[in-house]
Symmetry: C2
Subunit: 340 residues, 2 copies
């Protein structure tokens, strides 16, 4: 059932049927109702391809999921982000086109996507400190919104980010106020922008109190449970182990918890922990008193915001979205005064 069939069926021209369905004013309400009824009854849905070809819009948003060959993983943060963005897309009649791509093919993929016209815009995930993709996308003229920022890129672009620096500065201050002086940071991969900003916040808080800590109190890596476990063990087994940890995600924090258990230490009493909590749907850190003290910011909400911003940009409104979300600092069971 295509437009021609339908219009023939109705004794109308394709033009009129198309206009009726798309809400153009040149068609009487009576006809419009008839057309809608028939379309519904006959199960007519316009071909997305033909529509796209005629209008020049793909009605789809691209998300590119790079898989680095070293650490072949898909960040769990990604699924919740997608869930948030996806809701917005389906509400607006947009599709979400996902490309899983090897790191090294990533720029090629952007170029191909832009030229093939499969999407009207893209969301940029996991920006590095100095991310070449921003310039690339601007060159390609493909609308985009960055989830995060790229500190070393001077250009102007739309982004939605959490105030990572402030969050980790506050978290560090909290631990310092509790009397902790040996505070370790289990950070994300160091070339990621969010990790760099968190490190900066941590360092700023320490510097403000004139503290200096061993270099390897800061670790960076892919945020797996195993990573948290291994690095925590390493640090706990030092001659001068930390009394507190900042952890970049709840997942390595679970590994940290395992490490504490291995060493017979109790979280919140022997060792304090503050995590960054993305509110992953499978790892709720909630309840009257959450298990972990945390800087909290919903990645799903960020997904929604990115999607909305991008759709607005595509619709031609150019409001330059640069939104800094503040994470809330919530106290849970994992923090307590430093043991002396």
């Amino acid at each position: 059932m295509n437009l021609k069939d339908l219009s023939h069926h109705l004794g109308l021209s394709p033009t009129t049927v198309s206009r009726a369905l798309n809400g153009y004013p040149e068609v009487s309400e009576r006809t419009r109702a008839r057309v809608h009824e028939a379309a519904e009854r006959l199960g007519y849905a316009p071909s997305a391809r033909a529509m796209g070809l005629a209008t020049g819009r793909a009605m789809a948003i691209g998300h590119i999921l790079p898989l680095s060959s070293e650490h072949e993983q898909v960040n769990p943060v990604f699924s919740d982000f997608i869930a948030g963005a996806g809701e917005v897309y389906s509400g607006a009649g947009y599709d979400l086109s996902l490309s899983v791509v090897r790191d090294e093919d990533e720029t090629a993929t952007y170029e191909r996507i832009a030229r093939r016209g499969t999407v009207d815009g893209v969301v940029l995930h996991g920006p590095r400190v100095d991310d070449p993709r921003i310039a690339l996308l601007q060159r390609l003229g493909l609308p985009f919104v960055v989830h995060g920022r790229s500190s070393a890129v001077a250009r102007d672009y739309d982004w939605i980010d959490v105030n990572n620096r402030r969050a980790f500065q506050r978290a560090t201050d909290l631990l310092l106020d509790l009397g902790h002086r040996r505070i370790a940071l289990l950070n994300g991969l160091s070339h990621m922008d969010f990790a760099a900003r968190r490190l900066a916040g941590y360092q700023a808080a320490l510097a403000a109190r004139g503290l200096e800590l061993p270099e390897d109190y800061v670790t960076s890596g892919e945020m797996t449970e195993t990573y948290g476990h291994a690095e925590a063990l390493r640090l706990l087994d030092r001659p001068d182990p930390p009394t507190a940890f900042l952890v970049a995600s709840i997942i390595p924090a679970l590994g940290l918890r395992r490490a504490l258990e291995d060493r017979g230490l109790k979280m919140g009493r022997d060792i304090s922990v503050v995590i960054h909590d993305d509110e992953l749907s499978y790892f709720r850190n909630a309840g009257e008193v959450p298990a972990f003290s945390a800087t909290r910011s919903s990645v799903r909400a960020a997904g929604r915001l990115c999607a909305e911003a991008l759709l607005a940009a595509i619709a031609g409104e150019r409001p330059k979205v640069q939104t800094l979300l503040e994470a809330e600092l919530v106290l849970g069971l994992s923090t307590g005064p430093a043991p002396q």
Copy 2:
């Protein structure tokens, strides 16, 4: 840069250029080389929409991600599955179209997708014991592969599944062999097919030894960390607590571990645990001796297999893929003889 421009540029007809690029034999190798070179140089890529319109193929596969309104979560298993499938798609030049959809809109989405022709086929996620979507897709004539099965559906369809029943029967046997008699099962949502099959395996193993256990030794729910924690606490606090747990995923098992810690119990000594390990990239249960004893089957590999099967089906090969993957049973640190 479209085909007309390119052909004009080359002094050839669009026909010839199209054929040259698509590998048709009616064009000389010399011309083909010239065309390819020019296309490369001028950065020509055919419009996906126009191509789709002309060929009738969308070169895209749909994945529908239903979000139930009660438990608004995105299964982490999903991201790894997608990663596996996505690799295959990009290798074959296919896009992956993801629809995030409210539960109640799911059938409507399938119908719309089928009629709009945005995809050439879909992967069915999370089949229920009796899943109406299978009949729906067959009625729509949209090629599909199910990740899992739907036990109560008598029809013939393509699927890739893990032998969940056998896996959980073996895991239960392992625990029984170790002397455990009070074995709890922290299962997934009971209407999910995989959960029903795991339950059946568990029950079969118990029945084979003439064991009967309290009804609430089996729990079902969304497989979050919190779920594992809460149910484990409830069971451990019974007058006759289990000495062993079967857990449907590593994520609730982390909650279980937290519960053990809360109660001062040691996993592998006081309480034995066997999980099902999907090999989630952020929760590796590996190493010389893995932390958890597990029935192991890579969901990422399953994603690859589903994608390959679907692409084959779309290509017209109709090999009726019904693949049962056997999970391997690996011994880790979480199991030991039952304390007496």
